[in-house]
């Protein structure tokens, strides 16, 4: 059986499913090549392998991040690298780019064995990386960033050839049909444009393989469309792309083949045209998922807990009124930039408001600081986990207890590390945060586990009203499901949740009511009744 050997810690696949997966294996002969690379080499006259990572292993402390992983990429394909967070995707890519050194295994690029010591060497070797955290200098121009580290110079004085580089940059941008001023400061660019500069930088260094790590996470639908056009364009030019994403739809839109990693093992490589979403998810999580979303009884909520009346913010939000009920999940839909996050921040006291009233449990309250929001039992899980949600250098327990240090203090107001660890361990258990210790730095956790820590922060302070801004962004399928279950459990306990999400299916599956935003205004507020169609919501989101 070529596929899904069950050496993972996941429960064994039930008999019914096993049958299915065997059939799957027979149906898709290309899977085999990953396990029998010689086959592939024989076919190499037709489809040449540009990258061949063989038997890669890497151990961090006591955890085996990668265990004899094979990864083969053909020249000129868009190859999806899939897996839950912690499956080993990033580690594999970091080994490819020289950030880490493999304990075992070899890497071949175009048939030649390579061993990069750092990203500079891998860049020279033709591997370009576009990571989630954009690595650009905001105070420099687009051209300067694109050529950073390999400026073109001339003459004995090594004078920098700005004009030449600007022309080259402009020419390149034109070649991928993207408009960008070569002298514009990067700080003035949108996230999508910044990403383009990163891609440009990779290509300026003559990269033959480009790794895109979650490139679409921060992009709008329109920007994603543009990005895909560029990816196809690059493919035509013979550039190979390794594409990491949690959005499986995208894999079907632009990828040729997909390799699934699970718990540090390579599970299989599939032709995208011959598989489907359910199968990919099954391979990723090692079990079949009933659906993407847990079932939820909608429309059963209690009395109002939070009322926002006629909220205005300077220059943006106009006349926002909404009501949140006990035990309700209120979905906030709308395009990126329509004012969803701004509502969240205004309710949480993080942004200044112009006017507007807040009522909590029917009582009028003033919320003009995050302290007051906290005192009124409101908690915000911000969109930007790493810069606003968590102090990544701090331990899990320090991050959790920061919302209510009083609870951590003993009789004399003395912080007790024991009490802190106990509190943290309670949430580690309840929310099943995967970590060896409550003193682990949150930096080392996967996205899903980090998000759980942010949630735990507010649960620790007993927040009754939770505002979750894109709670599942950049989180893998399994962790998403856990977050959904958690949300359902919280509202069952009588908490109320405002969920902001760009993914309509998520909004539809979980919300009792849906508020649609457009350009700083509430366009509509609808009950999520069974017959409601996404189009009904989207028409309001588009103006």
């Amino acid at each position: 059986m070529a596929c899904a050997p069950s050496f993972s810690k996941h429960p064994p696949i039930p008999a019914g499913n096993r049958e299915r997966s065997e059939r799957t294996a027979a149906d898709f002969p290309p899977e085999r090549e990953n396990h029998m690379p010689r086959d592939d080499e024989r076919k190499s006259c037709m489809q040449e392998n540009i990258l061949y990572m063989k038997g890669i292993s890497k151990t961090f402390g006591s955890t085996k991040a990668l265990d004899h992983v094979d990864f083969t990429v053909r020249k000129g394909e868009v190859h999806a690298l899939l897996g839950e967070n912690g499956a080993g995707k990033s580690t594999l890519m970091k080994i490819l780019s020289g950030v880490y050194t493999a304990d075992e295994g070899t890497i071949e690029i175009e048939g030649k064995q390579v061993q990069f010591k750092n990203t500079r060497e891998s860049a020279q070797g033709g591997v370009g990386l576009v990571f989630q955290e954009l690595n650009l200098v905001p105070s420099l121009t687009t051209t300067e960033n694109a050529f950073l580290g390999h400026l073109q110079v001339t003459g004995a004085l090594k004078r920098v050839q700005w004009k030449k580089m600007q022309d080259e940059f402009a020419r390149f941008m034109k070649s991928i049909d993207f408009e960008m001023d070569p002298t514009q400061l990067v700080s003035d660019l949108s996230i999508a444009e910044k990403q383009m500069v990163e891609i440009a930088r990779a290509l300026m260094m003559q990269s033959r393989i480009i790794v895109l790590d979650e490139p679409t996470a921060p992009l709008t639908t329109e920007e994603i469309r543009k990005l895909f056009a560029i990816v196809r364009n690059l493919k035509e030019k013979g550039i190979t792309i390794i594409y990491i994403s949690h959005r499986l739809e995208e894999v079907f839109q632009i990828c040729d083949r997909a390799t699934v990693l699970r718990d540090g093992h390579s599970i299989c490589t599939l032709n995208v045209a011959e598989t489907n979403k359910a199968e990919l998810i099954e391979k990723m999580v090692g079990r079949s998922m009933e659906g993407e979303f847990p079932p939820r009884q909608l429309g059963q909520y209690g009395e109002p807990v939070l009322e926002v009346k006629n909220l205005f913010t300077p220059g943006f939000l106009r006349d926002i009124s909404l009501t949140l009920h006990k035990g309700e999940i209120l979905g906030l839909a709308g395009l990126v930039g329509s004012g969803r996050s701004e509502i969240a921040r205004a309710i949480f006291g993080a942004d200044k408001i112009e006017k507007g009233e807040f009522y909590i449990g029917g009582k009028k309250v003033a919320i003009h600081s995050t302290m007051l929001a906290k005192a009124n039992s409101i908690g915000l899980v911000p969109e930007d986990r790493k810069d606003e949600g968590l102090a990544v250098d701090f331990s899990i327990q320090k991050n959790i207890t920061i919302t209510n240090l009083k609870k951590t203090c003993g009789r004399l107001g003395i912080l007790s590390a024991d009490r802190e660890a106990k509190a943290a361990e309670k949430y580690i258990k309840e929310l099943s945060i995967k970590t060896p210790s409550s003193r682990q730095r949150v930096e080392q956790l996967s996205g899903g586990n980090q998000q759980k820590v942010v949630l735990a922060k507010w649960l620790y302070n007993d927040a009754d009203i939770l505002i979750l801004d894109e709670p599942t962004r950049g989180i893998d399928v399994g962790a998403k499901y856990e977050i959904y279950l958690l949300m359902i459990e919280l509202v069952r306990q009588g908490k109320a949740i405002i969920m902001i999400s760009s993914e309509l299916p998520e909004i539809f599956a979980l919300s009792d009511r849906i508020v649609v935003m457009y350009e700083g205004e509430v366009r509509n507020c609808v009950d999520n009744y069974p017959g409601l169609k996404p189009e009904d919501v989207m028409q309001f989101a588009l103006g």
């Binding site: 402390g61 949480f348 993080a350 600081s369 995050t370 302290m371 929001a373 906290k374 005192a375 915000l380 911000p382 810069d387 606003e388 949600g389 968590l390 102090a391 990544v392 250098d393 701090f394 331990s395 327990q397 320090k398 920061i402 919302t403 240090l405 009083k406 203090c409 107001g413 003395i414 912080l415 590390a417 802190e420 660890a421 060896p436 210790s437 003193r439 682990q440 730095r441 080392q444 922060k457 302070n461």
Partner: protein, 321 residues
């Protein structure tokens, strides 16, 4: 995770203690009278006045801010104290001086936390302002204030430890406890580590930022009062090298200027190291100008070793809480 306590890793994470031991050994052999009870007491005395301020500055740096104005504040307070003590009596003088220290800190703090001004600029301006004030106050002349009772208190000792050093040790203990075991301390770390995250967790970031300066102003004036008692004088020049020495001690101890990490214990070792270094070089009777050259070189060396070690060491996954 089991705790490894081998010598190698101890050296790597405690460069400062190793460096201190090396220099103590070096000076004991080469400098006459270095390793005597008298001289050790002397070193403690030398570091105490500035050391008191170093602990308060440690809080500021952990909270992500720092204050240049303490150097001229110290000189100004010594003048103010000696002058007022002569005119109005010792206790009113102490009260006024402490109030002035608090107010200066409050002013700095409000400008930084409320008006979001840059601490470097604010405290640089404050430094010049106070310096000018001090110079106009007495026209640059030092004040003499011989008071036998105060003098014998400040120069006295208890259990063979000088009074000033007691203040130093008490401040050390207090700051250590505050940083490690109080909500205030934890919130200072959070504020310095990432102010946005702290704010989004409902921490009153502005208050903590302000308090960093208030504490520093207060502690500086305590230290200045002790200094003028000990020297029976006030002088605009007292404390002129305070900021630099204090920050050197903090950084060499291993507290990061980036904020969010560090401890009073680190500052203790750093300050002690600087004290030993300065004292040892004096005892070796090296020409004063060369002493500065050597001091600078050694400071850079120790800090670079620490930095190199930190880069080599794989980042610790488990944080010591």
């Amino acid at each position: 995770m089991k705790k490894k306590r081998d010598f190698g890793s101890f050296v790597k994470s405690n460069i400062i203690i190793v460096a201190l031991a090396v220099f103590v050994l070096l000076f004991s052999v080469s400098a006459k009278g270095f390793l005597t009870v008298n001289n050790i007491t002397n070193i403690l005395l030398q570091i105490s006045t500035y050391g008191i301020v170093a602990f308060a500055m440690t809080i500021s740096i952990i909270g992500g801010e720092f204050d240049l104005s303490v150097s001229s504040l110290m000189g100004f307070i010594t003048l103010l104290f000696t002058d007022l003590a002569k005119k109005a009596g010792v206790f009113p003088a102490i009260l006024v001086c402490l109030a002035v220290g608090l107010l200066t800190g409050l002013l700095n703090g409000l400008m930084v936390s409320r008006l979001k001004m840059n601490a470097f600029v604010v405290t640089l301006g404050m430094m010049m302002f106070i310096k000018g004030l001090a110079l106009t106050y007495t026209g640059g002349r030092p004040n003499n204030f011989p008071n036998p009772a105060l003098n014998s208190f400040a120069n006295g000792s208890l259990l063979r430890i000088p009074t000033i050093t007691w203040f130093f040790l008490i401040t050390f203990l207090a700051v250590h406890l505050i940083l490690r075991y109080t909500r205030f301390g934890r919130n200072v770390y959070a504020t310095g580590g990432n102010p946005t995250v702290a704010r989004m967790a409902g921490v009153n970031v502005e208050f903590y930022k302000m308090m960093l300066f208030v504490i520093l102003g207060f502690v500086t004036s305590v230290s200045a009062i002790l200094m003028s008692m000990r020297l029976s004088a006030g002088n605009v020049l007292y404390g002129s090298d305070l900021t630099m020495s204090v920050i050197a001690g903090i950084v060499i101890g291993g507290t990061s200027m980036a904020g969010g990490s560090g401890s009073a214990v680190r500052t203790f070792w750093g300050t002690l190291f600087i004290g030993v270094l300065f004292n040892g070089l004096q005892r070796l009777e090296i020409q004063a100008s060369w002493q500065d050259v050597i001091k600078g070189a050694i400071l850079i060396m120790v800090i670079s070793m620490d930095t190199i070690m930190a880069q080599r060491k794989v980042r610790k996954t488990i944080v010591r809480d």
